[in-house]
Symmetry: C2
Subunit: 114 residues, 2 copies
């Protein structure tokens, strides 16, 4: 069981699971929170995972494919992606994109499953 | 079961559960995402709920009390609050505060439980 804690994103390990895509993860017991920074031109291939995902765009514009449909997300947009639904993302514009994804149930440590 | 969907925070109903505290909620099946805007001086009294909560501060500075301990959170800070742990918040500074809270399991529609 996790304890109450306060974290600074600046102290969370950052990995690059795909070219130009930086990822940081914070795990609770019930959910995982993932912060992504996507460089212009970066691509997250279409995939799925059993967890429900809610993505919030904090900055930049990113094109998602969700269940075969294209949706362009910008700041203030949220995508709710049920478990098992295929999705992917590509940064077509010139801006770096920052998103927060919440995954529930808690995600395993699979480096490509988000 | 919810379907995949894209939402703009601007289209989500905003309520004021406490003076100076504006709330918007998006529900998935596994989790609820809550966006709060806190005016300077606003107070969220200490409370608890069975859901695990992860709070991300997007802007402003807010003092949380978590399990009796004071922690001051600013942009880039994240608080992980297990289910059942008492917590509250107060905006002591001059800035409006925006946070995203994720709650899992999905939250019921209790207007004060977050």
């Amino acid at each position: 069981v996790t304890e109450a804690r306060v974290i600074d994103w600046a102290d969370v390990e950052q990995t690059e699971p795909l070219p130009g895509i930086l990822r940081q993860t914070i795990h609770g017991d019930q959910q995982s929170m993932v912060r992504y920074v996507y460089a212009p031109g970066s691509v997250f291939p279409v995939h799925s995972h059993p967890q429900e995902q809610i993505t919030v765009v904090l900055s930049g514009v990113i094109a998602f494919t969700v269940d075969g449909k294209r949706v362009v997300l910008g700041p203030g947009n949220v995508a709710v992606i049920p478990g098992g639904v295929h999705h992917g993302a590509i940064v077509e514009g010139p801006e770096t994109v920052v998103t927060i994804n919440t995954m529930s149930p808690r995600r395993a440590e699979d480096p490509l499953s988000s």
